[in-house]
Symmetry: C2
Subunit: 460 residues, 2 copies
């Protein structure tokens, strides 16, 4: 366990230096979020101008705070940061998140280096130039982003502030739960490698997602990643792949994006799954979080729409997912329960008349089979079948027969289909609005299966 | 103009043979949809068992209908279809849509061939095994799908019933308007080539979208496509790319999917844009429908999130979209209006403080420039900026300065971002929930630009 990192995520006492009474100001929003998020430790606003902020007693300086402080959030103007870091060190604060910007990202690496050397060996620093840290386990939202964050299993480390903030909204909207969010900022001290090591050990984290533009110490990161991947899946979005993208990354975070081919090979070797963009990354993470890893490569697709079956078969084949040939025995069982029948080959086409009862029955038949490793259930909205009922039948079938097998689903259609898959998300089911995305989710699970197999784990 | 096809889309009188009083029955749903959709022609239910259906006088047989009939919808059991087709021919009905299934798709090509030869030279047939036809121009929803369809500019031809029905819901949910939807069924008579020729001439259609599993007469289709593409863009989803997908297509619609490489080359040569799946196809269509074609290849990206800028730059480069270098002059103009500034290089990063006023001002500056051909505007939800206001500023900037330039946008974040881009869709703006998709939309426009250029059209 990385004890030096722990105070960022499980502090008993937090100080907000630069706390403000003015809504909209960062020093106000962070304090407000910490207070509203249900954090159970002590919260100490620090600002010489106020006696209290948000009904909390406010202290002139850190030195005046009448208790130890595990974590200081620093939201003062750039020119005051150095003084506050000095105060932190004197107060023996264990960790500091420097929200303030105006350091290496605008060319002032000298200022940043000074902060790090002041704290060296005494206090760890996240930032500067970050929006903060959220930790589900501590019910601590120490960010100036949205107050409400959905608790879940993924630790998200982001080098982009805006993307991270937008994602915080996604957690509630798209039901992508997170165990932690770290806006890693300029990485003056704590970097991706530190956090990967920490989250690899963190029992409340079951997957790690990173948005990254550049790395300072590539070797150390890939070493940490390689070890972490043996314990939990890791998905990385590495921006700055193209020459012009790398140039944009350099003016964004001052990162040297590096040769993309080298990164690609290193991710591959470390076992980190590299996503093309945010949607794919979250789709993968959702499938990985809500499912067991398949024990083999045999996939079965069930659909009520022949076209959807064909499209998803194409995508499976493109990605290297193996649609198994069904045994005669299973084929017969499926045919027996289906009055009017499309196709009992894989993809199984239950035809547009398929209702919740038929979906449930066929899925239970399939999931009971030892030779089936994974299932993709697809539904096209039709005139007379309620997608909500079908969604419930699919989740029930999983809960009853399929808890040892991964399953992803797509509901394609209008508002009713959308409501149906959103209900499934609430029941911790990896559901999507398109067949492509349900297949992509399964692909992440199959990649994980192959990884575990290469580690000598998993398998039937 | 294909006069033989016209009665399917602009009939003066429609008969529904097999009209039913029972909600849920196809013969009921189709009649109900035609009636509720605002069709202005005459509607004649035909069924020997009823005196009236849905308050319309019902006739025992087609012969009893007291007027000419341009279009007959046939929704009777398979064994009665042949008799009804005979009735149609005797009544000199110009066109028939055979909803009924149970023909070549279940191996009874003989039955299907007989219907075609009965009608040959006298009546055109769509189907059998279709869900019908929708035509915006005639306000005619002659399908058993959802009643409400959003009117727009795309003609959609689908070989998959379920996908087509699901898509009908998308038209209202995702604001993908259509000029027509044709469920083409078994293509016993009317096929893709006929419809492509028809829609190429149809003034209410400005783009053509096809979901296809197989073709009977490839040469004729590609010839028709080549001609149509000179007039309007065409997007094709061709399923059955993979060996197993082709096998699934064969058990779905009895189609021979054919060698995918041959299809790929033929689509390329004809200028039909081949999409990987439904989402990409609709994203392309939306960008094409709501925008002028760019006059050159110079793209500018504007964002409030550096990370989003980097990711979208990567995607642009991957797809071959050219992010132009901004002139010193334009760079200075942009810098002058921006108090605190991220990057005036392309992608232009307005930083997280950018509000609607700044977006509006910078977009107007860019769009006024003759050397700029296309713009991608990206917004990451932040704590204190209202996405709705930014969305409005972007649409206003287009309406004021950019009507000759294509622009796509993405709003990334939670519910407020979603509401923002949905509002943009209502204002006929190609907006998306992710940056990848906004870039993909622009890519379709640039592909179209290159096509037109190869035809000697377009350019600055």
């Amino acid at each position: 366990m990385r004890r030096d990192i722990e105070p960022f995520f499980a502090p008993r006492a937090v100080a907000v230096v630069g706390a403000s009474r003015t809504p909209g100001k960062i020093g106000h929003e962070i304090l407000r979020n910490i207070k509203l998020s249900g954090f159970r430790g002590n919260i100490f606003p620090v600002n010489p101008n106020y006696g209290s902020v948000l009904d909390l007693p406010c202290y002139r300086t850190l030195a005046d705070v009448p208790s130890d402080v595990d974590l200081a959030l620093i939201a003062v103007p750039a020119k005051l940061v150095e003084g506050v870091v000095g105060d932190c060190v004197r107060k023996r604060v264990k960790s500091a998140i420097i929200i303030t910007s105006g350091f290496s990202e605008v060319g002032r690496r000298d200022l940043e280096d000074r902060l790090v050397s002041m704290a060296k060996g005494k206090m760890r620093i996240i930032g500067p130039n970050t929006f903060g840290v959220y930790c589900a386990r501590s019910s601590m939202n120490a960010t100036f982003g949205p107050t409400k964050v959905l608790e879940g299993k993924t630790a998200f480390i982001t080098q982009s502030g805006a993307l991270g903030l937008a994602l915080m909204d996604w957690t509630t909207e798209e039901k992508y739960g997170v165990s932690a969010i770290v806006s890693i900022g300029n990485k003056a001290d704590v970097d991706d490698a530190d956090l990967v090591e920490y989250f690899a050990d963190d029992p409340s984290t079951s997957s790690i997602l990173i948005y990254m533009e550049g790395l300072k110490d590539g070797r150390r990161f890939f070493e940490a990643a390689r070890r972490a991947v043996r314990r939990k899946p890791m998905v990385v979005i590495k921006a700055g792949r193209s020459a012009r993208g790398a140039q944009a990354a350099s003016s964004h975070t001052g990162s040297i994006a590096g040769q993309d081919a080298i990164f690609a090979a290193a991710f591959q070797q470390a076992g980190a799954m590299r996503a093309e963009g945010m949607t794919q990354a979250f789709d993968w993470i959702q499938a990985l979080n809500e499912n067991p890893v398949p024990k083999g490569e045999n996939v079965v697709v069930v659909t009520n729409g022949g076209g959807l079956g064909v499209l998803s078969t194409d995508r499976c084949e493109m990605l290297g997912l193996k649609l198994m040939d069904l045994s005669d025995d299973l084929t017969k069982q499926v045919q027996d329960v289906t009055p009017s029948f499309g196709s009992a080959k894989n993809p199984i086409d239950l035809t547009a008349n398929a209702d919740d009862l038929l979906y449930g029955e066929v899925l239970r038949l399939i999931m009971r089979r030892r030779e089936v490793d994974a299932v993709i259930a697809l539904f096209c909205q039709t005139a007379n079948i309620d997608p909500g009922l079908v969604a419930r039948a699919i989740v029930d079938a999983r809960d009853k027969e399929g808890l040892d097998k991964p399953i992803t689903a797509a509901f394609v259609g209008g508002r009713m289909s959308q409501m149906a898959y959103e209900k499934m998300l609430e029941r911790r089911f990896a559901a999507y609005p398109t067949a492509e995305r349900a297949v992509d989710g399964m692909n992440a699970l199959m990649t994980r299966h192959r990884q575990l197999k290469s580690f000598g784990k998993g398998g039937r």
